[in-house]
């Protein structure tokens, strides 16, 4: 319940943060909202030499309209994302998924950027960001680069963000007018997702013209169910089951107290169908 000692820095700009990180080397840990990091420090599962708190970097917070996309600052807390009109209008899926994260107190502090870089496969931000074809803006000593969501998640707790780099912004192409749903399956409400499915669809006259489906906790990273996305085109509420049957294909979900891999694969197909159905307004 008491973290090991560490040095602390609270830079106020991205530049300052980068130089503090560069100086500290690989023994530094970036503190975003801290809602996953603090438990790790308290349990002494990790004991960094230095904690670099981004909480005072105002530039990293907020949502802006980027024209064909919306740009979400990495330090924007969940609660601001959920309530943000731009997110609701152009990336409804993300708002719905983020609303299910943990509990209200944690949503007040936790940030979307922190969650993405932490990259817990059971977290609820990865799948919608993947499904929405987001682009991540990463800055480091060498300047700024962008990484597609599909290339962002490398493995369990590993992303494209290297030591000394920061995720600054998440750019989400506008999915205006798309229906969306996030089907999260838990045993008790404060649990991490056992499995969750993020689905967003564009439909005309009840028929799907485009579909995006992301899976939570079906492998070591969030996954995209592209086969399902293709199969869904041309389908309506009545004939989703077949298209969704392949949702778990190629996945390698974990087995734990909440369910084994087979059960999770089954859940993924049922939840995908339900998510798409709800995204269609069903």
């Amino acid at each position: 319940m008491i973290p090991a000692t560490f040095d602390y820095a609270a830079p106020t700009s991205v530049e300052e943060a980068l130089s503090v990180l560069a100086e500290a080397g690989d023994d530094a840990k970036v503190l975003a909202g801290g809602q996953s990091l603090l438990p790790i420090l308290r349990m002494r599962l990790n004991a960094p030499e230095k904690v670099v708190d981004l909480g005072r970097v105002e530039a990293l917070r907020g949502v802006r309209d980027g024209g064909d996309h919306i740009a979400i600052g990495s330090m924007t807390p969940y609660s601001e994302v959920v309530g943000n009109a731009l997110v609701q209008e152009h990336a409804g899926l993300l708002a719905k998924a983020v609303e299910t994260v943990a509990d209200p107190q944690i949503r007040h502090r936790g940030t979307v950027g922190g969650a993405l870089v932490h990259a817990d496969p059971a977290g609820d931000v990865g799948a919608p960001v993947l499904a929405l074809d987001a682009t991540m803006v990463v800055v480091g000593p060498g300047g700024e680069r962008t990484v597609g969501a599909g290339e962002f998640f490398h493995d369990l707790f590993e992303t494209a963000v290297a030591d000394g780099e920061l995720l600054t912004e998440i750019r989400i192409p506008k999915h205006t007018g798309w229906g969306s749903a996030y089907e999260k399956f838990v045993r008790v409400s404060h649990q991490w997702s056992i499995v969750a499915v993020a689905a967003t669809v564009k439909a005309e006259g009840g028929t799907i013209t485009e579909a995006r489906v992301g899976l939570t906790n079906m492998g070591s990273t969030p996954l995209r169910a592209t086969a399902v996305e293709q199969a869904l085109v041309g389908k309506g509420t009545a004939d989703l089951a077949d298209a969704c049957a392949a949702a778990a294909e190629g996945t390698n979900p974990p087995s734990d107290l909440n369910g084994d891999a087979d059960y999770r694969r089954h859940l993924a197909t049922v939840l995908t169908r339900r998510a798409v159905q709800h995204a269609l307004g069903g």
Binding site: M1, I2, P3, A4, T5, F6, D7, Y8, A10, L31, G34, Q35, L38, P39, L41, R42, M43, V51, D53, G55, S79, A102, D103, P104, Q105, I106, H108, R109, S189, H190
Partner: protein, 158 residues
């Protein structure tokens, strides 16, 4: 050690703290605000819930240094001029507490809940309290108390 200045329950405090000190430990051990308690080490139970700049947070899940320059309200600062906050009264009137250990966090979260949504349904109250564990009440009377505090009609479930 890092110097911080925090306003807690209306009073300003300046202290040198270790960066690793959790906000809840700062409140309890440095300021003696022992009304805020610790119930777990995984940030599930919500017993340590306080308000940071008017929004509910789990004070075990923050460092004291992160509160530098901010305003914290604890259960001890909720009543004003000796008058109980309506949520405190509602908890008392509706027998929404037994051992009382979860109560400070539960009340602080319930206050935040009504600030967000002044007229919640039973379902909204339940979901709004999902970050606070209680082992005594079965939540029944807590939900009733929050509904009462909101002035929404009480359920007629005998």
């Amino acid at each position: 050690m890092t110097r911080i200045t925090v306003t807690v329950d209306g009073a300003s405090y300046t202290d040198e703290v270790e960066p690793r000190m959790l906000l809840v430990h700062y409140l309890r051990e440095v300021l003696g605000k022992v009304g805020t308690v610790v119930g777990c080490d995984t940030s599930n139970c919500g017993a340590c819930t306080v308000h940071l700049d008017g929004r509910s947070v789990k004070s075990c899940n923050m460092l004291a240094v992160q509160a530098d320059g901010h305003e914290v309200t604890t259960i001890e600062g909720l009543s004003t001029n000796g008058e109980l906050h309506p949520m405190q009264t509602a908890f008392h009137e509706n027998h929404a507490l037994q051992c009382g250990y979860c109560t400070p966090g539960m009340i602080m979260q319930a206050v935040d809940l009504l600030k967000e949504n002044p007229n919640p349904s039973e379902e909204e109250i339940r979901v709004g309290l999902e970050g606070n564990l209680c082992r005594c009440t079965g939540y029944h009377n807590i939900v009733k108390a929050v509904a009462a505090a909101a002035g929404s009609s009480q359920r007629s479930d005998a």
